[in-house]
């Protein structure tokens, strides 16, 4: 039995709307696609490099409108770039997104018109260097709150989001690139999906009581969808992705759906854990008790 004030929550549920988990997905897709594009370019796979930067630029382009639409005062979105604060992952992330989306759209534009290849490569490199942090920082953003299942999952969430971003980028490229040039994309989608599911398992196990919200309610339902879609899509890519463009497209679409569902699941789990005061009270009580016990054991023994 948890003592609480008429069962009311202690921490507030976030006020964020569905735009935010969708942005977690598009930011991850955009950032990882930019990285994929650069590595493809370096390895000489120019078709994959070109299509990936298109995907990255498109995902980066829809991200700011999503974020702005979620603001309580959208007309003040530029205030996000009023300061730079390393104590605020949202401030750091706003700067990363602004830089990365400028770089990826520049690289995509130059790539499309086929001019200034040097400048295009510099822009692609800039988008990749900022793209990897773009794909991961959203995990730090939600970890840096008082929401129990987000803050306590701070050791795993960046890896979960990073793997999910990698899977998204691979899957999108597997759809957009002919199968003969898409082998690295397929491997990335499959590897990302496997790593992400492994991280999720390990995270839930370590969290104990706080693993519950990830399995229950809407979060739990979306987690199941995420698992089925990402692993199913990865299996399809592994088995038939090389031979059939249709299979490659279907597998890629499944993985993408899985990654979107994963972001939605993590998002909802946060709300669920805020709603029930036991997830705030019990871990804190245990922490205080452990500290109390440690302090007592520091006292000199009585004769």
């Amino acid at each position: 039995m948890t003592d609480s004030y008429y069962g009311r929550p202690i921490v507030k549920e976030p006020v964020w709307q569905p735009e935010i988990p969708v942005y977690f997905f598009t930011g991850g897709l955009g950032g990882a696609s930019s990285v994929l594009s650069l590595v493809a370019r370096v390895s000489g796979n120019d078709l994959l490099a070109k299509r990936s930067i298109y995907i990255g630029a498109a995902a980066d382009a829809v991200s700011p409108p999503l974020l702005i639409s979620d603001l309580g005062r959208p007309e003040r979105f530029l205030n996000m770039l009023r300061v730079f604060k390393v104590t605020s992952p949202m401030s750091v992330g706003s700067w990363i997104l602004a830089f990365s989306s400028a770089a990826s759209s520049g690289a995509a534009f130059l790539s499309a018109i086929g001019r200034l290849p040097r400048v295009s490569d510099v822009a692609r490199t800039a988008s990749a260097v900022s793209g990897a942090p773009l794909a991961v920082y959203t995990a730090t953003l939600i970890s840096d709150t008082a929401i129990p299942v987000w803050h306590e999952a701070r050791h795993e969430l960046p890896f979960l989001f990073g793997a999910s971003a990698a899977a998204s980028a691979g899957a999108a490229a597997a759809i957009g690139v002919p199968t003969r040039a898409a082998a690295p994309a397929r491997r990335l989608a499959i590897g990302g999906a496997l790593v992400e599911n492994a991280v999720m398992l390990a995270m839930e196990k370590r969290l104990g009581l706080l693993g519950e919200p990830y399995r229950q309610g809407e979060a739990g339902r979306y987690a199941k969808v995420a698992k089925a879609c990402s692993l199913g899509g990865a299996a399809l890519l592994a088995v038939a992705g090389r031979r059939s463009r249709l299979a490659s497209t279907a597998g890629g679409a499944l993985v993408l759906a899985g990654e979107l569902a994963l972001r939605w699941s993590v998002f909802k789990a946060g709300f669920q854990s805020a709603r029930d005061p036991k997830y705030t009270v019990l871990p804190q009580r245990e922490r205080a008790a452990r500290r109390g016990a440690a302090a007592r054991s520091d006292l000199p023994a009585r004769p």
Binding site: S4, P9, I10, W16, L71, R76, V83, A146, R180, T280
Partner: protein, 294 residues
């Protein structure tokens, strides 16, 4: 860890003595004068008129439109000692923003709208806030919220209202300012001024802490059940509250977290983890090219 709140030192000569609240719940009579005085002085809008059935509390929780909240708890337990049968005690406590020494809301605010005043308090600059909502889940006490304006059943639909008046919902976050405007004028905050029993005491924080220790000693000597200070410890997870409490039961009974921690305490480690994940992502993409593009 010093007595100064984060950031006050940057004021230099303009820094004022750190002030705050000591809310002694053992003398709270639940009159809610603090709630009313706060609303009146700060022009805080209505937050819905509902009957909760939760003792005399129809305010329920702190939020954008509630900066003081009086909790009512009915318990079958004597106020003092243990020998009374069929005992009943009624706990009342006026909750408020804690104005933390290390404030998570202020740390995570991406626009710099939330700031530390020269008095060591934490205030939202409403002309800068863009309603990103990050401070809402960052606060370990659930103090901040985005403001929704109340709608009445007789009102025209919100869309029409928006067109007519040229404005939508407020959209920004709001919370207790510890009456920054009154402090500037040398007055105590409205809630403390209105409190008829001095349950809400305002003053320099160091002075309040001493007074609280004495009061706790007295209550313990009189064997009041569950008497304890909450938020007075400068070594706690938020570096001590600027508004702390004398409670008569566990904090969670009043809807307060038992061991609050400023989430940004772990942020350096979180950035390190993120950096490793960024490296892993880059390596993962490179590894996907092992074995060629065919």
């Amino acid at each position: 860890m010093g007595a100064l709140a984060d950031g006050v030192a940057t004021y230099g000569d303009e820094a004022e003595e750190r002030v705050g609240f000591f809310t002694d719940t053992s003398v709270c009579i639940g009159c809610k004068a603090c709630e009313v005085a706060c609303k009146e002085w700060n022009l805080v809008p209505e937050d819905g008129l509902v009957w909760t059935g939760e003792s005399y509390d129809n305010t329920s929780e702190l939020g954008a439109n509630t900066w003081r909240h009086v909790a009512f708890i009915e318990q079958n337990r004597p106020l003092r000692g243990e020998d009374e049968v069929d005992a009943l005690r009624w706990l009342m406590s006026s909750d408020v923003c804690k104005h933390c020494t290390h404030a998570a809301c202020l740390d995570v605010c991406p626009t710099g709208s939330l700031f530390r005043t020269e008095f060591g308090t934490v205030v939202v600059q409403e002309d800068i806030c863009n309603g990103c909502g990050y401070c809402v889940p960052a606060c370990p006490f659930g103090v901040l919220d985005r403001r929704h304006l109340p709608r009445h059943s007789g009102d025209p639909p919100a869309e029409i209202l928006g067109l007519q008046l040229g404005r939508k919902e407020d959209g920004r976050v709001w919370k207790c300012t510890l009456c920054y405007d009154r402090l500037k004028g040398g007055h105590e905050p409205a809630c403390a001024k209105a409190c008829p029993t001095d349950s809400i005491q305002f003053g320099p924080l160091d002075e309040l802490r001493e007074r609280a220790e004495k009061r706790l000693g007295k209550l313990q000597a009189e064997s009041w059940n569950g008497a304890r200070l909450y938020g007075h410890d400068r070594e706690d997870g938020v570096g001590g509250f600027g508004a702390f409490f004398l409670l008569l039961d566990e904090p969670e009974v009043y809807g307060l977290p038992p061991d609050p921690v400023v989430t940004t305490r772990d942020l350096p480690a979180m950035w390190r983890t993120a950096a490793i994940a960024v490296g892993a992502l880059a390596l993962g993409v490179v590894a996907a090219f092992a074995g060629g593009s065919e």
